[in-house]
């Protein structure tokens, strides 16, 4: 790993006496920038469409990103540690298929949740074992398991669908805790806090940064690199399981094409959130704001009936813009 804790060239020449404060300032500025983008989009949307500022509509809009965001939190940690998991959408398909088969056998909501979580964990463990046990590159392993997990769903289901989930199961994806606050949104908020604490306030989180910056150095510092990475794959699998429960409950049915293509949207959220794709830096608040940015953009453009293709172009430009802006600013300042 050639990645060092010098994400910007201009700061490389200054040797800081204390490492944390400039790094902290950098992260803060990224989040502030994103927050400004989010506010700008919010204001633009409320002027562009008379339907935007409506509590129920905004509540509906959160469903467009809450499930993906829950995976993005775990994915952020994994990418900070220098690994990636592209099989997350396929894990959703497999976990959803397992829950569908169980529902068919008459298992109740609690049992279905357990099956979804266990299936996610098992897939995560499989990825983790291949990456940390055999030392294979995670991008290759998870491209492989992406086909494997979804392939199993296709073999089980073919062109059929599982439906007839027990009535109580709909609570996770269609239920509301209070007024317009959906169950999914509460889960999203709770996991955001949990992952923020895990990454920013625990030894484990510090180990994740250390591994991402210099895995060999981390190993010689007494960090059990393989074990931390394995746990991160488990977490990503688990969060995919949670997303599978929410999405299956929201759709009320399972087809093998469920959540197709989500892995790229999840990675986009993470990168937009300021996580370095090469590992070593990033924050959960950044990812949280990024999920809102993406959710607001797609919903706002949807209200104006902008075709999905144009929407993808917009998201792409936004991603490039937000990443390029600090670089351009730094270059301009140097001259």
């Amino acid at each position: 790993m050639s990645t060092q804790s010098v994400p910007r060239p201009d700061e490389a020449r200054r040797v800081p006496d204390r490492l944390r404060s400039p790094l902290g300032r950098l992260l803060k500025s990224w989040e502030v920038l994103l927050l400004l983008v989010a506010v700008a989009i919010f204001v633009a949307n409320s002027f562009a469409s008379p339907y935007f500022l409506d509590a129920w509509n905004l509540s509906d809009a959160t469903f467009n990103f809450t499930e993906k965001a829950m995976i993005a939190f775990a994915m952020a940690l994994l990418i900070i540690s220098g690994e990636i998991d592209l099989s997350v959408a396929a894990i959703i398909a497999l976990a959803s298929t397992a829950m569908g088969a169980a529902a068919q056998a008459g298992i109740g909501p609690a049992g279905l949740v357990a099956i979804g979580l266990v299936c996610g964990l098992a897939c995560g463990a499989f990825n983790g074992a291949l990456v940390t046990g055999l030392g294979l590159p995670s991008i290759v392993v998870t491209i492989g398991t992406m086909s494997l997990f979804r392939g199993i769903s296709y073999i089980v289901l073919g062109d059929q669908a599982y439906r007839g989930y027990p009535p109580g199961f709909a609570w996770f994806g269609q239920g509301y805790v209070w007024w317009v606050i959906s169950v999914e949104f509460v889960l999203f908020a709770v996991f955001a806090v949990l992952f923020a604490i895990l990454l920013h306030k625990t030894n484990f989180g510090r180990a994740v940064y250390a591994i991402g910056n210099n895995p060999v150095g981390a190993l010689f510092s007494g960090i059990r690199v393989a074990r931390v990475k394995f746990i991160l794959f488990l977490l990503t699998g688990l969060m995919s399981g949670v997303a599978a429960i929410c999405l299956t409950s929201r759709l009320g049915s399972t087809r093998p094409s469920i959540a197709f293509g989500w892995e790229l949207e999840v990675v986009t959220m993470v990168v937009l959130g300021g996580v370095n794709i090469l590992g070593g830096s990033g924050s959960i608040p950044g990812v949280v704001i990024a999920t809102f940015v993406m959710g607001l953009v797609t919903f706002g453009l949807g209200l104006l009936n902008v075709p999905g293709i144009v929407m993808s172009i917009f998201i792409g430009l936004l991603l490039i813009g937000v990443i390029a802006l600090p670089r351009l600013w730094a270059m301009a300042r140097r001259e």
């Binding site: 669908a161 759709l251 009320g252 049915s253 293509g261 919903f299």
Partner: protein
């Protein structure tokens, strides 16, 4: 400043609209939701919807859909349509079941929901518009052959597989109406398994076994193209007429060479037109969707709903030398 105020204004507008006190000159907004944007078939349906809107006047068509054919993408589109409080949603669904919760929510908020082309489970829509029905298709495929055989003749059927449900039902329906076409005799039914090469061999075999064969009926888009090629290769253009169900883009060559005089499939323009008419009539309260109801759909006549609140639009549309050029670029 003002976010809270705007929020309240938004809520007030919502309340006013939900109250049903809609001004007279507000257009009826009908959303035509397709499986994915950029597909010729659906672009043609959009054309039909605009035609219906023009005829009705005071109708705004919102043509939309996801980038790829996923249920999740369609749900996002439907959520944004619910937020815009459109008057009606007419959807060709990517998934029979997955759209039901989203569409139920739309109906709960007073939006008319119908499905067309590719249906939604009954609890997620008010009615479903099928492009055609099995009896109509069964009758059409034999009629296409008989129209060019005024003195009767021998015809053979080239089907898909022995277990293809659709084809078997259509052939069964065809056999029921054979009495209406005196002099026409079905001499054989063979199966090309919806594979181009096997269909080609079976068609060639038919012409060798029955030298007096006058027509091959292929109610499958793979079989009809293969049979037309077999007729051309055997030098029997003009002697053996290939007909059945096919896609204009794939059949344009066969029409040009004369191997096929005509064939049929649904017309996407009529489909979009009818879906819009139905959505309009339900949304304005001029008709109600219930089993047995008859709902007018402009120049396409009326739709009669069965016990599942489904209905068939019309006979499959006939394509021949006169209109193939117009449609071959569409689908």
């Amino acid at each position: 400043m003002g976010v809270f105020k705007r929020l309240m204004t938004g809520a007030a507008v919502a309340a006013a609209m939900a109250g049903g006190a809609q001004a007279q000159d507000d257009p009826v907004r009908i959303a035509l939701v397709v499986k994915a944007l950029g597909i010729g078939f659906f672009e043609a349906a959009h054309k039909g919807a605009e035609e219906a809107a023009e005829e009705l006047g005071n109708v705004e068509i919102i043509y939309t859909g996801p980038t790829d054919t996923t249920a999740e993408g369609q749900i996002e589109v439907i959520n944004s349509l619910i937020a815009q409080r459109v008057d009606a949603i007419a959807v060709s669904a990517n998934d029979t079941d997955a759209l039901v919760p989203a569409l139920k929510k739309a109906m709960d908020r007073g939006i008319t929901v119908i499905s067309w082309d590719s249906g939604v489970a009954p609890e997620g829509r008010q009615l479903h518009l099928n492009p055609s029905s099995s009896p109509l298709i069964g009758n059409m495929i034999i009629k296409l052959a008989a129209d060019h055989l005024p003195d009767g003749g021998e015809v053979a059927v080239l089907s898909a597989t022995t277990t293809s449900t659709n084809q078997n039902v259509w052939i069964e329906e065809m056999n029921k109406v054979m009495g209406d076409y005196p002099g026409i005799e079905v001499v054989a039914t063979v199966y090309g398994d919806d594979l181009a090469d096997k269909s080609y061999r079976e068609a060639t075999g038919l012409m060798q076994t029955y030298p007096d064969l006058d027509a091959i009926i292929a109610p499958t888009s793979v079989g009809i193209v293969a049979a037309a090629q077999a007729v051309v290769d055997a030098g029997k253009v003009g002697e053996v007429n290939v007909t059945g169900l096919g896609l204009p883009s794939e059949m344009a060559g066969a029409i040009e060479s004369g191997a096929s005089k005509s064939f049929a499939i649904w017309n996407p323009i009529d489909l979009g037109y009818s879906a819009t008419m139905l959505a309009y009539n339900l949304a304005t309260g001029e008709a109600e969707a219930a089993p047995g109801a008859e709902i007018p759909m402009g120049r396409m006549g009326t739709l009669t709903l069965d016990d599942n609140t489904e209905g068939a639009m019309a006979d499959p549309f006939v394509y021949d030398a006169s209109n193939i050029d117009e449609f071959k670029s569409i689908f």
